[in-house]
């Protein structure tokens, strides 16, 4: 319990040092990770069942060679692709927003620094430290989240492309 409160306190202090922009970055990162986890869980649990369902649809057909059958096949593959790549656009958008938010944090932090400078002059480095931390922490946070998010979004895209190929192979062979 004690450890949890200490950790919460640390997090709160970190958020406070980063200024208000860090809250938005936190929001974006929570949204991003929810979507990424949702996709990973989808591939882990829901996708095998869906694949069986699509394969079943194809297997039931007696005619697999006519033009009509090709349409059906294209329809199935397209549906699978849509289901798999759901939310990927949002994930990519959130990943690209993160560095922008970091930059926004840098700018607001620098504004803070110059406010302090306008009051105390340029001699007092300690008074400027707050603004500098407000400038650097969101940038760092935005970068970290963007890099991690980029990795996972690429991973999911690869998975979608792989699964699409695999599915079309399976549909061909049957």
């Amino acid at each position: 319990m004690d450890i949890i409160t200490t950790q919460l306190d640390l997090i709160q202090r970190f958020l406070h040092a980063g200024g208000s922009v860090l809250w938005f970055i936190l929001l974006v990162s929570v949204g991003l990770w929810c979507l990424i986890i949702e996709r990973l869980l989808f591939f882990r649990f829901s996708y095998p069942q869906l694949r069986e369902h699509w394969l079943g649809l194809w297997r039931q057909r007696s005619d697999k060679r006519s033009q009509h059958a090709r349409h059906i096949r294209t329809g199935i593959i397209s549906e699978a692709q849509i289901t798999m790549s759901k939310n990927i656009a949002v994930i990519k958008m959130l990943v690209s927003i993160c560095p922008l938010m970091g930059l926004l944090g840098t700018v607001t932090g620098m504004i803070h620094v110059f406010d302090v400078m306008a009051v105390t002059g340029s001699g007092n480095a300690r008074a400027m430290a707050d603004g500098v931390s407000q400038a650097t922490i969101p940038t760092m946070a935005g970068m970290v989240i963007a890099i991690a998010g980029l990795y996972f979004s690429k991973l999911i895209e690869e998975r979608v492309s792989d699964e699409t190929h695999h599915l079309s192979d399976l549909l061909q062979n049957h």
Partner: protein, 441 residues
């Protein structure tokens, strides 16, 4: 003499006869007056001689007098010397005896001066007015301070010390932010802060009054202040300003949101205008796409073909084909979909353009701001950061505004794009379904 006589004769010539008898008379007169003068001279001589003797005597007397006076002078001088000697001894004695005390009074005077300077800016003075006058007397008087004054100084010092460790509440008159006086219950936290009605006050040393800050700290600190005012006992968290008002006075100077936006200048307003336009446009597009999507869902569910939505129109185009063969049907459907797609994808590029332009305008503002900064540097040098402040804040604020506009627009663009792609996808799927259904017949 001959000449004289001659002149006398010549002058006398007209009257010589009348006056020749007077010449003898004149001779006799002269002779007689010579005798008189000799007698007078003798008398004078005698007088002078007598006088001379008298003077001698006077001189003698004066000399005696001088001697006496000189003696007296000598006596007095020795007396003076003796007195001076005594005075010096006494002074040395005085100095000896009062040496440490004199220093003490000097220290007391200095302490009073220092304390006065401290108390002038101390928030505790708001609670105890009239302390400064007492100190003023001690600090500025030339005379030695009295016991009473010294005790007062000690008391004031002790009071300041003791009071700076206390959190107390007292009633006093404060000035509101608009400058009107009002009675309020003030809570003073040591010598750091004073709060009234959950608001932070500052101490005006000129008037000795407390005044509400025109701009208050963040809500979370004000909530803490409220808690402190209502708390009865126990430790209560509260935000204090350990700089005795410097941070709070900085708070007043920092610009608020509208002033901040003003700093961005004309470029800032352009960015905001574009941002507002983009936001409204994107939301309108989103709402329209959602409505279209709902109509299409209805269309999927019903057998009735309604022409008010893209899917209905595509299906209607398929129905019109009648008994054409599949390939023609496919072409017709493709054509119908191609007609519908631009309406669904309308505006996307506009939103994306605005999202891309906003940071660029921010960059433009940065550059113009830096140009004005460097202009002021070339005029005034780098000595005063305040002269450069306007250019720098313009540079930073426009960048900030650009990003603030771009981020939501990117977000909205992504939403609009994914929604319209979904609609196009539905059209494609449904048309394929129509074709298949026909083929299945």
């Amino acid at each position: 003499m001959k000449k004289l006589i001659l002149i006398t004769l010549m002058l006398a010539t007209p009257a010589a006869i009348a006056e020749h008898l007077d010449l003898d008379q004149l001779l006799r007169d002269v002779k007689r007056s010579q005798g008189t003068e000799a007698r007078i001279n003798r008398v004078r001589e005698a007088e002078f001689l007598a006088e001379k003797n008298k003077q001698q005597q006077l001189l003698h007397e004066a000399q005696v007098e001088l001697n006496q006076q000189q003696q007296l002078s000598q006596q007095l001088k020795s007396h003076l010397d003796a007195n001076e000697q005594e005075l010096m001894e006494l002074e040395a004695k005085l100095k000896n005896r009062s040496g440490e005390l004199g220093e003490l009074f000097g220290v007391a005077r200095q302490a009073a001066g220092d304390l006065k300077a401290d108390l002038t800016n101390s928030i505790i003075s708001a609670q105890f007015p009239g302390r400064l006058e007492q100190l003023d007397k001690i600090a500025n008087s030339k005379a030695l301070p009295t016991i009473e004054q010294l005790e007062k100084l000690w008391f004031t010092l002790q009071q300041e010390m003791t009071e700076s460790a206390k959190v107390v509440s007292f009633d006093t008159k404060i000035q509101t932010a608009s400058g009107e006086p009002r009675q309020a219950k003030v809570v003073r936290i040591g010598s750091f802060n004073a709060l009234a009605d959950g608001k932070y006050l500052r101490y005006l040393s000129e008037t000795g009054k407390l005044s509400e800050l025109a701009r208050q700290p963040e809500d979370k600190y004000l909530d803490l202040a409220e808690n402190l005012l209502t708390a009865k006992q126990g430790p209560v968290p509260v935000g204090i300003d350990p700089t005795r008002g410097v941070i709070l006075s900085m708070l007043i100077q920092t610009p608020n949101t509208t002033e901040r936006i003003d700093q961005g200048g004309i470029i800032g307003y352009i960015i905001l205008f574009l941002g507002a336009f983009g936001l409204v446009y994107a939301i309108v597009r989103l709402v329209m796409l959602t409505l279209t999507w709902r109509k299409m869902q209805n269309q999927v569910g019903s057998d009735q073909i309604s022409e008010d939505n893209p899917l209905g129109r595509v299906i209607a185009a398929g129905e019109q084909a009648g008994s054409e063969d599949n390939e023609t049907l496919e072409l017709l459907l493709d054509e119908a979909i191609t007609r519908e797609v631009p309406a669904l994808e309308k505006g996307q590029s506009m939103i994306k353009l605005l999202a891309a332009v906003a940071p660029l305008l921010g960059l433009l503002g940065t550059v113009t701001g830096m140009i004005s900064t460097f202009q002021s540097i070339s005029l005034f040098g780098t000595g005063d950061p305040k002269l450069m402040a306007s250019g720098i804040s313009q540079a930073l604020v426009t960048t900030m505004l650009g990003l603030c506009v771009a981020i939501p627009l990117l977000f909205l663009h992504s939403l609009v794009a994914s929604r319209s792609r979904m609609l196009v996808q539905i059209l494609d799927e449904q048309s394929a379904g129509i074709v298949s259904r026909r083929a299945g017949k």
